[in-house]
């Protein structure tokens, strides 16, 4: 599937993720926390002892598949997913350089229900990866509001301005939704 076919599916899934499931979690969350805490600990230890597979986050409390546009961190992304290009949700593929300046978005983690500020550092220095194009755009603003604009090539301040792919890096809990 291509950009825009994916987009409608993603929009639907995004709505589902942010509404029905959230209400479900809000209703049953407390019970689930108690029920899952103890069994989760060995799993967390096992995850830290090996490199995570590319299709899992490898981080406790960070659900989803970093190779999928549905992954919660990608709510305001527009580009190729580095996790599909030899990198991960928070690392650039070999031979590419993360941009020091980025656009940011605010995405809700379905696991803890908190809004996090996500920095979408582009990885730079090679041609476009061409895999896992993702175009979600929550909170995306026009070019004259650049800090929230995902249309800009953010390969700036890097050795090369060539765009390869985008990451989604947690930089903190949001105190307000940035718009």
């Amino acid at each position: 599937m291509g950009w825009f076919d994916n987009l409608s599916e993603r929009s639907v899934r995004s709505v589902a993720r942010r509404s029905a499931r959230r209400s479900f979690l809000s209703r049953f969350g407390f019970a689930l926390v108690g029920a899952t805490t103890i069994p989760a600990l060995p799993v967390a230890r096992a995850a830290s002892a090996r490199m995570p597979a590319p299709d899992e986050s490898g981080i406790a409390g960070d659900p989803g598949n970093p190779q999928s546009c549905d992954y919660w961190r990608y709510c305001s992304l527009d580009g190729f997913l580095c996790a599909c290009c030899g990198g991960s949700q928070n690392s650039c593929p070999p031979g590419t350089e993360p941009s020091p300046v980025t656009w940011i978005g605010t995405c809700r983690n379905p696991e803890d229900g908190k809004d996090y500020v996500i920095s979408y550092n582009d990885c730079c220095g090679k041609g476009g990866c061409g895999r896992c194009f993702c175009n979600t755009n929550e909170g995306d603003t026009p070019v004259h509001r650049p800090t929230l604009d995902n249309d800009i090539n953010w390969c700036l301040g890097t050795k090369s301005n060539a765009y390869h792919c985008s990451t989604g890096i947690v930089i903190g809990v949001a105190t307000e939704i940035l718009r």
Binding site: F4, S8, S11, K126, N137, P142, V143, R145, N153
Partner: protein
């Protein structure tokens, strides 16, 4: 006797074949005839290999591709002077394709031959990203070009077209995009809801002036998609209001905004969307916008329909249901306009009779990712 007749007819046939033999050819290069109003340029972002961006020229009447430009890295669109004597194409090059030294130029092409005839080196700061119409502008007297820079410091590079040289950079903190504003001025949109005016003297010197605030970026932000209407520009707010700005005198004159959608249509989630969703035919004074039904963040979704508005009466006059969903549209500027459409994900462009809305033809295999149109004004 039979034998002699046979030889006679065989020789006759051979003679016929010799007479029909094709002439020997030598390779040559085509040149373009005089342009007409139904020619259209379309930029190719070529997203998987942006170092090889392109621009294609097509004829909407014949459905033929006429030629192409190779336009470097992350190309948006080209400009041309008022008589279509020169094409000015802001282009970015990296010396090793995707790495190495960066050089930004305004490449100059001959519109008849499509050959590069000259270039002007400008600071290596030109905005790169998903193409926007207002990444560069030429003054209406053809004297200056302004190129929008983003490093992320914001500025414009001013170019003297007449002497084909870069003049200087003007810092424009907080302001982006650039629009021709009459003979000797450019305007920019600022993130705080104001507009910045740069009036130029003959040397390109300017003292930028800020307007009053004309939109609220937190409640109903002006978008970075717009359509030119003579010396005015039509802008659009996120909620679907049209904000016409008269720039004939340089400084912006803000007209009263008016809604493109009824209350029912807003409730029905009709929205503007795409990468180039608005275009105006000056001959018919009609605005064409690409619309779809979608959610809050569907502003890049393809449009299913084109709605047409009479700009004088400020009313919708026609609704065109597209045969092919589109993310970009452009109408030609003549009295019998064609409407071109493209979808950024699909190669090829579609041509409609803009007045009847009837699909005329598809010009296939044009661009990998067709993004921005710009019309030829002969």
């Amino acid at each position: 006797m039979k034998y002699r007749l046979g030889i006679f007819f065989a020789l006759l046939a051979l003679g016929g074949i010799v007479a029909a033999e094709l002439e020997v050819e030598t390779p040559r290069t085509a040149t373009l005839p005089a342009p007409n109003a139904h020619w259209m340029w379309i930029g190719d972002l070529n997203f998987n290999a942006m170092e090889a961006s392109k621009a294609f020229l097509v004829d909407g009447d014949s459905g033929q591709m006429l030629g192409m430009l190779s336009t470097g890295y992350f190309f948006s669109s080209a400009l041309h002077d008022s008589q279509y004597k020169n094409i000015y194409s802001p282009e970015v090059y990296l010396s090793r394709g995707t790495r190495g030294e960066r050089t930004d130029i305004i490449a100059i092409y001959d519109p008849k031959t499509l050959e590069p005839t000259d270039e002007i080196v400008i600071p290596a700061k030109h905005y790169s990203g998903i193409p926007i119409t207002a990444h560069a502008a030429i003054s209406t007297d053809d004297r200056f070009i302004a190129v929008y820079n983003f490093t992320p410091a914001q500025s414009i590079s001013l170019v003297d077209v007449q002497n084909r040289k870069f003049l200087h950079e003007v810092e424009t903190p907080g302001c982006a995009e650039v629009f021709a504003a009459g003979a000797r001025a450019f305007n920019m949109i600022c993130g705080d809801g104001t507009m910045l005016t740069l009036k130029l003297d003959d040397s390109g010197n300017t003292e930028p002036v800020r307007s009053a605030k004309f939109f609220d970026p937190r409640t109903d932000i002006i978008d970075d998609k717009m359509a030119r209407y003579g010396d005015s520009w039509a802008f659009f707010t996120k909620s679907g209001k049209l904000q016409m700005i008269d720039m004939a005198g340089g400084e912006p004159k803000f007209e009263s905004p008016w809604p493109l959608f009824t209350v029912d249509e807003v409730a029905d989630n009709w929205k503007l969307g795409g990468y180039q969703y608005a275009t105006i035919c000056e001959q018919t004074n009609e605005l064409y916008v690409l619309v779809h039904r979608g959610g809050e963040y569907s502003h890049k979704d393809p449009g299913s329909d084109v709605w047409v508005y009479d700009l004088k009466a400020k009313v919708r006059t026609r609704m065109i249901s597209l045969d092919h969903a589109a993310t970009s549209i452009q109408v030609t500027t003549d009295a019998k306009p064609l409407l071109f459409t493209a979808h950024a994900e699909h190669s090829g462009v579609h041509v409609y009779d803009a007045l009847s809305g009837v699909h005329q033809r598809t010009i296939s295999e044009i661009a990998v990712n067709p993004l921005l149109f710009w019309a030829v004004h002969p």
